[in-house]
């Protein structure tokens, strides 16, 4: 069973006046089939956690360990992490001019699966996944994220999640900027992947709204660069009512 272990993770970014520590000792274990919600106020470092796990060059790991099935993730390049089974759905997916969605998806699937998917099966697979996410087939011929609406970008991220079938999916604020209909469609997509029982999900979010559609097994409150409280789904209800104030007070946040 695939397991992602994060142990005492410390991460810094370059800032004016030298490196600034954002993550100050994160401990978390995500197992296949589990869904963990990471919730926290703006600036708490939850997106930094997501991008550090994916290996974004902006972040420097200064301490701790990340293991995927015992393998040292921090030693891997960005693409090696993806091929090992990590997936990051981004809050702000990047435009890649001149690269069509269909070309991009096939290139990614070929890389992650280690061989080019058989064309006929692949076309069917993509078509079905797009239909399930209520995406227009013409979408496949557009350039990656170019001129996409906020909702289209998120659907495109979840489409990749469905096609690439990672062991651990990190979803960074996938709910932000979505109207209720789009949120429902995207959540259903995530739930389809979860229902296979083969993916561990790390759901990073500011709001509890998405948790009405996606029931987490665990909820973690993130503040000042670490997890300050963990609990079950009921913790989200408490956050819904009380907000993050009690975690931010007392100089916990910068």
């Amino acid at each position: 069973m695939a397991t992602l272990e994060i142990r005492d993770l410390h991460v810094s970014v370059e800032a004016e006046g030298g490196p600034r520590e954002i993550l100050k000792g994160v401990d978390l274990t995500v197992k296949q089939g589990e869904t963990h919600a990471i919730m926290g106020p703006n600036g708490s470092g939850k997106s930094t956690l997501a991008y550090s796990l994916a290996g974004h060059p902006k972040y420097t790991v200064t301490g701790g360990q990340v293991l995927l099935d015992g393998e040292d993730v921090l030693e891997m390049s960005v693409d090696e992490r993806a091929r090992a089974g990590l997936f990051l759905a981004m809050q702000y997916p990047v435009e890649v001019p001149g690269v069509s969605v269909s070309n991009f998806l096939r290139t990614a699937a070929t890389a992650v699966r280690g061989e080019a998917p058989k064309l006929r099966l692949w076309v069917k697979e993509v078509k079905e996944a797009m239909a399930a996410l209520q995406m227009d087939p013409a979408f496949a011929e557009r350039n990656v994220n170019e001129g996409f609406s906020g909702g289209e970008k998120k659907r495109h991220e979840i489409l990749q999640l469905e096609l690439l079938k990672p062991k651990v999916a990190i979803l960074d604020e996938t709910d932000s900027g979505l109207d209720v209909d789009a949120l429902r469609v995207v959540s259903e997509g995530i739930n389809r992947v979860r229902s296979t029982g083969e993916v561990g999900t790390l759901l990073v979010t500011h709001y509890t709204r998405i948790l009405r559609y996606i029931k987490p097994d665990y909820v973690h409150v993130f503040a000042s660069g670490r997890i300050v409280e963990s609990g079950g789904a009921e913790l989200a209800d408490k956050l819904e009512e009380e907000g993050y104030e009690s975690y931010v007070k007392g100089g916990a946040s910068e």
């Binding site: 994916a54 290996g55 693409d79 990047v94 890649v96 001019p97 890389a111």
Partner: protein, 414 residues
């Protein structure tokens, strides 16, 4: 890439705006101007001329020569190439023509009225080519003939010095795609006249697929007729020094010109494209988009885009864009768009220039989907060019270009 300058970009440019009917500018002491008016061509010290002797030998300090490595031109600029050709005999090239039915070709002398009709040499090398060529090749597409396959002109340089002149005349309401393909090597100076008749459509593709040591300097003049459509596609991959002057003039109102360019400069290569669009006729349009990639020590690309909108050119609509993608350290780009406007009564005029490195966020996005770094880089470069290739509108040409880009990427981007 977004329509803005990416971080670390370099741009240069100038815009001058005058007002229709505002009268002559004052000149003289106290005005800050030495001369009245300064049209774009006047920044070049010498008036256009067919006679090489009207041009002094450039020193490299002139505005129009300052980016060009004169010592690598094989003497095209100072008479040595021409003298050598006379003394030792000219070099040779092999020209193969692929003419669809109805299209004719002939060889004529420089006294033929069509030779030089689309434009006059603007620098010493072009004038040298005009003064020294033996016979001009004229390809004619008859009136109202709509070609279904391209005209092919394959030039294979076999070394030595060549001076050439080519005329392509597309008669009224005819439609043609002409592909001029350069391979092989040698030192070549040439002029091209592209005569686009009233209501005609010409797509002219000039491919510089030279061997690494070739020198190629050419002026490509288009004269666009009433309601005619001209499309220029310039693709420069090979050569040691390539310096091209695509220029557009309008013979009558309603003309439309699109100029697309792609170049890929490797270590040590100098690839220079100097465009001039002279809007002196009302209600004409122009659109320029040039994109280049550079990699390796002393890879050098120069792009000059001069657009002049003269007082008479009411209703002009023009835009020009240059983008450069620098793949490694050690490469250099000079990109200078110039827009000079003498009337405010126009539809639109704009320009953009940006030179940037690889977008790290794009690479991260692709890599985060499992795509290895080198393949991600190729995907980004391919995409960078594909965006332009998609606009060419001739499927066969597009496919060939993408293949060419692919081959270049396989060889070089790792």
């Amino acid at each position: 890439m977004a329509e803005q300058n990416t971080p670390g970009s370099t741009t240069a440019g100038s815009i001058e705006v005058g007002t229709a009917g505002a009268g002559e500018q004052l000149a003289g002491p106290g005005t800050g101007r030495d001369t009245v008016r300064q049209p774009i061509d006047a920044r070049v010290a010498v008036k256009p001329s067919f006679d090489v002797n009207d041009f002094p030998v450039p020193t490299g300090r002139e505005e129009d020569w300052r980016f060009t490595p004169l010592h690598r031109l094989g003497g095209l600029h100072d008479g040595n190439a021409a003298e050598g050709a006379v003394r030792d005999g000219a070099g040779s090239d092999k020209i193969e023509l692929g003419l669809p039915e109805g299209v004719t070709s002939e060889l004529v002398g420089r006294e033929d009225a069509r030779v030089g009709k689309a434009g006059t040499p603007v620098d010493r090398v072009a004038a040298q080519a005009f003064s020294a060529f033996e016979q001009a090749l004229v390809v004619t597409v008859p009136k109202e003939t709509v070609l279904t396959e391209p005209v092919r002109i394959d030039v294979h340089g076999e070394g030595g010095v060549r001076f050439a002149h080519l005329v392509i005349e597309v008669k009224p309401f005819a439609e043609a795609v002409v592909v001029l393909n350069h391979t092989g090597t040698g030192t070549r100076a040439a002029n091209v006249d592209l005569l686009v008749g009233d209501g005609a459509k010409l797509t002219f593709v000039s491919v510089q697929d030279w061997e690494r040591d070739a020198v190629h300097v050419a002026q490509q003049n288009a004269l666009v007729g009433r309601d005619a459509t001209f499309k220029s596609v310039v693709v420069t991959f090979g050569g040691d020094v390539v310096r091209l002057h695509p220029r557009v003039n309008y013979a009558a109102p309603g003309g439309e010109a699109e100029l697309f360019g792609l170049y890929f400069a490797d270590a040590g290569q100098h690839l220079e494209h100097r465009l001039v669009i002279d809007h002196d006729t009302p209600h004409c349009r122009s659109n320029v988009a040039y994109k280049g990639a550079l990699q390796g020590q002393d890879a050098h690309a120069v792009w000059i885009g001069d657009v002049l909108i003269r007082a008479a050119a009411l209703g002009t609509d023009t835009y020009e864009l240059n983008r450069n993608l620098v793949l490694t350290d050690g490469a250099r780009v000079d990109s200078v768009p110039n827009l000079e406007i003498e009337t405010g009564e126009i539809v639109g005029a704009g320009h953009a220039s940006a030179t940037g490195r690889f977008d790290d966020e794009q690479l991260f996005y692709l890599q985060s989907r499992g795509v290895p770094a080198d393949e991600a880089r190729r995907l980004v470069v391919r995409g960078f060019f594909a965006e332009l290739v998609q606009q060419i509108g001739v499927a066969e040409i597009q496919d060939r270009l993408l293949e060419k880009i692919e081959a270049e990427l396989e060889e070089t981007v790792a």
